[in-house]
Symmetry: C2
Subunit: 310 residues, 2 copies
């Protein structure tokens, strides 16, 4: 009963007001898988070059993550991204993007992955996301995210893809772009007509909002962002939100085939997503996951309750 | 047992993506008083010119607001402000500020106001805020707000003033400027060393965070902003938050002289503040308060509970 995560495994160069790292393990699938691994078994589908370090594979394996679907391209180089954050860390500028082996990424599902019930499709070309889903006949819950590039230039393909999803995770700007509506409630109502019955709009440090429904919203849930004392590096926080969100639901054995996920479970999933995103920011890159324990996660979940109940 | 509100009563010209009004009733004290009037009796201290319309006084009086402290300067003109909002209404540009009679505002407390227990000091010169407080010997709860101008150019005076307050209401940027700390938790800890035992950081559409403590924070409360279906005009929303916040506490008879306000009451006050700010945005200027009923406020408070509990 594992979760399959599809997306990028990469090396990142990151500069924040707190420091600079030239090259470290990154990529959406990496962050999603690490965060989800605290809740459920995880299997990765991604591609790397032969520069992918043994230690980095080791970190993923140490969290029990299955790497049978991690394709290694001989002579190839791993996706590299470099960026610098603004002083308040709410904006970042990309300095360099070398797609390398990720440019020709064609997800290959190992036989051992195909019967799994949970699927998180990271931000890749919509047609590829769809092809993965088509190879998994026993899915109980499917969701993923996307980005402005696919929304603008691959709209038809994207709409065909997300029509089959149970949930979509996007940020404010993506929700507005996808729906053509500025107001978030109107944007959500429009997106819920596109297929997913659950929509999570991530708002960075300000939190997240979850909408449920079909066509019209049946209800929503608002969570303020966790207030960290120190934010070292926000890279991967949104992906860790996604990992915590679906990881929690997978761990609970949620079955969305009748499109009726218990709203209370979805709310908890949003909070676990926020918790995982907050931990991610406490150290550079994936470093926080080298030491993070499940009990710390539960403790922060309870802190969320204390700080939001009225 | 009334609340005294000191600040500006003004005319505003406002343009938002939804329309344009050349001249309408505005000013911080107006919004604060209107919002608070749903919870407690309110008495205004402000100054206007003889162009102040009978109908506008009538609106305030219709909410039971005492205008004995509304000074009218013969031959003078009322403070006028004009601004235009950005497409997403998160930024605004001031086009014109005519202080007029507000330039020489020296708050005069009618005898009938001096024994009141609640005081909200709107954004005026810190020394004037202090002089008002000094004239009210029976205060049970005092708070107010300020702005970047006073923080930058009247820092000493401002620090002397807020030292005597029970609570301070500021936005993110003001909290950072006042504390010299970017991180909100660190900023809050620094500000709580300056005197107030309660700090509310308003985050616009993203909500508000409340901190309590002395020196170190004893705890905090986070509230996501209410998601409106239509935002017509955000002018005054922050002031309405302030009005709802202190109005609720005044209506509950809170006595902060021992500096021990029940945290649960403070949390509810933050939500009522958010509720009043959200109503304010639904129509231009103060128009929403022409029809708003207390039952609508209670209904939205309950909606906040439904949308945030987990």
């Amino acid at each position: 009963m594992a979760l399959v995560v599809v997306g990028s495994v990469a090396y990142d160069g990151v500069e924040t007001p707190h420091g600079k790292v030239d090259r470290m393990l990154g990529g959406a699938a990496t962050y999603i898988a690490l965060a989800a691994s605290y809740f459920t078994p995880v299997k990765i589908v991604a591609v790397v070059g032969d520069d992918f370090a043994r230690d980095d594979a080791g970190l993923l394996e140490s969290r029990g993550i299955d790497l049978a679907g991690l394709e290694r391209v001989p002579g190839g180089k791993t996706f590299f991204w470099e960026g610098v954050y603004s002083a308040d860390m709410n904006d970042r500028t990309t300095l360099r993007t070398d797609l390398n082996v990720f440019a020709d990424f064609s997800p290959k599902l190992p036989e051992s992955y195909r019967e799994e019930p949970y699927l998180l499709l990271g931000n890749i070309q919509p047609a590829l996301q769809r092809s993965v889903r088509a190879q998994m006949p026993g899915l109980k819950l499917t969701g993923g995210d996307t980005m402005n590039y696919w929304i603008n230039d691959y709209r038809g393909e994207l709409l065909e893809t997300i029509r089959e999803w149970d949930f979509l995770l996007v940020n404010d700007a993506e929700a507005r772009l996808l729906s053509g509506q500025h107001n978030l409630r109107r944007a959500a109502a429009r997106i819920l007509e596109m297929g997913p019955h659950t929509l999570v709009i991530k708002r960075g440090e300000y939190g997240a909002v979850l909408f449920r429904g079909a066509g019209t919203t049946e209800g929503h849930f608002m969570a303020h962002g966790y207030l960290l004392e120190d934010v070292f590096d926000p890279t991967g926080a949104g992906d860790c939100f996604a990992g915590g969100f679906i990881g929690y639901l997978a761990g609970r054995g949620i079955d969305a085939r009748d499109r009726q996920i218990d709203f209370a479970e979805l709310r908890r999933a949003v909070i676990y997503g926020s918790v995982m995103g907050s931990f991610c920011c406490e150290k550079f890159g994936v470093d926080r996951f080298r030491t993070l324990e499940r009990e710390e996660i539960e403790s922060r979940y309870r802190e969320f309750q204390t700080c939001t109940a009225f």
